[in-house]
């Protein structure tokens, strides 16, 4: 009877005490007991019973009404990236659910925990092409870590607990639960009981690595003359930034962070050498092919990092620390694989690692840095031409925020420039769409990030193209009143595509120039203040205005139109084939 009494107190006050919860109430109660505080969502027919239950839960669950379901998904991603807990999105069936597919695919590639609750038509209508019916289980199967269709209200607590467990543990990812309208309206036939701790017998990711793997890795690392660390998103997902710092400081090993691992190491740390990959740093790329031991931590050797696998780090012994065993040997052969959580692995490695320093090896990085500075950085930052360069704007933002803001970047040139010139001083400070490269990500994700980390300054940095993909979320931001700071780096082009057309398609600019709207007027229409700056002399005060605003604010920076992002390793090329200008 004890469980039953507990259920009674859990039920909303205006309901008869002897009743069991409806499925919809069970969804709400499960979320509360899971510790969820924020839901990003959009209502519609098939999820209406749950929205009705939500009406009674408004004091416990904050619901954010977005303007498009894609916005809900990306906002939930931004929230998850700040909190390391699953972001929750709730939408209706059919088009509501399909609109969520882009964020889900994005979260899958970038290992972001999401729990998506999706309404479905009534149970008896399944498979009949009913109004707003869509086989969302089928559609989302390849892009979710797990999905499940609930047709029975009694299943709800268990399935929701399982969803959070799967989304957040191991290598995190998106989970979708498709709940028929009937399962929402039906009453449970048993007392509600939520058990947060679940054991899924077929899913028990290894967290603590095998000691023999740790020892083999330590042996390789201790014998290295030119070791090099690539730290990825897995470091942040495991909250292992402190362990990583201890590790590199003891071992004296130079460390680069991947785009998703950005901010896991203080940009001013003497051992930090930047980032590898297509638009990463010169030395960070070239020296991949000169190190003798490559230590990859929580990263998956994406092709944007490795370029040509046939020539990638062939000289090096590879230590690969990774929680997802399917990533081991997938792209790069691991001489010493360590399957486990990055934090646990680094903790176990630390005592076995010799104190060391590699001054000559580190000097190699410095050499390449100097070349990169001369050829690229200097020109980007101390440009004499009329127009503002993206790089100088970002560098100024970085200075003004002391490298302590969260930047949420969209996809394109501005994304690469922002991550290149923002000097991240704190972990969990770069939110971007890396694996999927989803334009339209930044505006809703910045909002979600602000929801997840209200005490931090969150600055969205977006291109003029991508801004127009989820521009409607200005409405969500305005309604919330949260001071999300938005910068459009406007080059009047789909800049990144234009760059490729210039470099690899003979400057044949095929549909990359935009006739843009007046962004500031649009923002004002949504109730968000803003202004445009095109004059370098006014850039500094413009950024001050943006940063000092206690409301959302839009700053449009008119940038040089045909600027290119360098360094660049062309797609599929060897990492030593870096184009500098």
């Amino acid at each position: 009877m004890a469980a039953q009494t507990q259920t009674m107190t859990a039920a909303p006050k205006n309901k008869e005490p002897e009743q069991f919860l409806t499925g919809a109430q069970a969804i709400m109660q499960s979320l509360v007991e899971q510790g969820v505080d924020t839901i990003f969502g959009y209502p519609g027919g098939a999820i209406m019973p749950t929205y009705d239950a939500l009406y009674d839960y408004q004091d416990k669950l904050k619901h954010i009404l977005v303007r498009h379901e894609q916005g809900a998904g990306h906002a939930a991603q931004g929230y998850a990236r700040m909190t390391n807990r699953a972001g929750v999105a709730m939408v209706t069936s059919g088009p509501g659910a399909t609109n969520l597919m882009t964020p889900i695919a994005d979260a899958m590639l970038d290992s972001t925990p999401l729990v998506c609750i999706v309404g479905q038509v009534k149970g008896n209508l399944l498979g009949t092409d009913a109004f707003q019916e869509c086989d969302i289980i089928g559609i989302s199967m390849p892009i979710t870590k797990w999905n499940y269709q609930v047709v029975d209200a009694n299943e709800i607590p268990e399935i929701i607990a399982k969803a959070f467990h799967i989304a957040e543990s191991g290598r995190p990812g998106p989970v979708l639960i498709d709940i028929t309208r009937t399962a929402q309206t039906d009453k449970m036939t048993q007392p509600f009981k939520y058990e947060k701790k679940v054991d899924v017998i077929s899913y028990r990711p290894r967290v603590v690595p095998k000691q023999e793997h740790i020892e083999a890795a330590a042996k390789l690392i201790n014998a290295a003359k030119k070791p090099y660390i690539l730290a990825g998103h897995g470091v942040l997902l495991a909250n292992a930034q402190d362990e990583l710092k201890q590790f590199i400081e003891k071992a004296g090993i130079p460390v680069a962070t991947t785009l998703l691992g950005m901010s896991a190491v203080d940009a001013d740390h003497p051992l930090y050498v930047g980032w590898p990959g297509m638009h990463g740093n010169y030395g960070a790329n070239v020296l991949t092919n000169e190190c003798d031991v490559l230590i990859a931590i929580g990263m998956r050797f994406d092709d944007r990092i490795t370029g040509d696998l046939g020539t990638y780090a062939k000289q090096a012994k590879v230590v690969h620390i990774e929680i997802d065993p399917a990533e081991i040997n997938k792209n790069v052969f691991a001489d010493a694989p360590v399957v486990g959580d990055a934090k646990e692995a680094l903790k176990a490695l630390l005592p076995l690692i010799n104190t060391n320093s590699y001054p000559e090896w580190r000097a190699e990085f410095a050499k390449y840095d100097a070349i990169e500075y001369e050829k690229i950085t200097k020109k980007d930052l101390f440009h004499e031409g009329d127009q503002i360069k993206m790089g100088e704007a970002v560098a100024m933002l970085s200075d003004k925020t002391k490298g302590e803001a969260v930047t949420v970047t969209d996809v394109g040139q501005h994304q690469m420039i922002a991550n290149r010139y923002y000097r991240f001083k704190k972990p969990f400070s770069s939110v971007t769409s890396g694996g999927a490269g989803t334009m339209g990500f930044a505006l809703p994700a910045a909002f979600g990030a602000k929801m997840g980390a209200p005490d931090r300054e969150v600055v969205a940095i977006i291109g003029d193209g991508g801004f127009q993909m989820t521009i409607q979320e200005l409405g969500t931001i305005a309604q919330s009143g949260l001071p999300v700071k938005i910068i459009i780096l406007n080059n009047n082009f789909l800049g990144m595509v234009r760059q490729w057309q210039q470099l690899f398609f003979d400057r044949r600019y095929s549909f990359v120039e935009l006739q843009n709207p007046d962004f500031i007027t649009i923002a004002k229409g949504f109730g968000i203040a803003g202004h445009t700056v095109s004059d370098r002399a006014k850039l500094s005060e413009s950024l001050d205005t943006l940063l000092q605003s206690d409301k959302p604010y839009l700053l449009e920076i008119i940038c040089e139109k045909e600027e290119n992002v360098f360094p660049m390793v062309p797609a599929g090329a060897c990492v030593t084939k870096v184009i500098l200008e």
């Binding site: 199967m141 390849p142 269709q149 017998i201 899913y203 040997n329």
Partner: protein
């Protein structure tokens, strides 16, 4: 091309077949045969999938991707010499009046096949064996008119003393 037999043990959930086959589709791998059945343990299904591939490494990657599916309990990839395997084929053969009669004794004794159904002017012959044995029998029986021919996918067990439970994650695996 080498033949690989994958034994995949899963919890018995809806949609899992789909989740597994899309892993093959994405890599443009052709499934030669697929057999799904319940096992001697409650709630555990067994998929036997045969593929041909010239890269062992690629098959190993495939196995790891399948293992990653949340409802998959265990996956093994075998070469032919590591397993005992079989398929079952059915042949519907025309036996018209005045035609050459089938040599039932030969079919039974030489081919280890048997007639499992006698129709009015046809018979159904069942032949068990490896792909090759079935192909050879096909060649022989082709001398009569084949009205229909089909065969099942491969079923296979590993040549080891271990039982299913030893492959599964630790738990109470109830015998059916």
């Amino acid at each position: 091309m080498t033949t690989y037999t994958l034994s995949i043990f899963t919890s018995n959930t809806i949609g899992l077949l789909n989740r597994i086959t899309i892993i093959f589709t994405r890599r443009r791998l052709n499934i030669e045969s697929l057999t799904v059945c319940e096992t001697e343990r409650k709630g555990v299904s067994r998929f036997t999938i045969v593929i041909r591939h010239d890269s062992r490494e690629a098959v190993e990657k495939l196995v790891r991707q399948i293992r990653k599916v949340v409802d998959v309990l265990a996956v093994f990839g075998y070469l032919d010499h590591e397993i005992v395997f079989n398929e079952i084929a059915l042949f519907k053969i025309a036996t018209p009046l005045g035609g050459v009669p089938l040599n039932i004794k030969e079919i039974n004794l030489d081919w280890n096949a048997k007639v499992v159904h006698w129709g009015l002017d046809y018979v159904v012959i069942e032949k068990n064996g490896t792909e090759q044995e079935i192909a050879e029998f096909y060649h022989y029986i082709k001398n009569w008119e084949i009205l229909e021919y089909l065969k099942s996918g491969r079923v296979a067990v590993g040549k080891t003393e271990k039982g299913l439970v030893e492959y599964l994650p630790e738990g109470d695996w109830e015998v059916v």
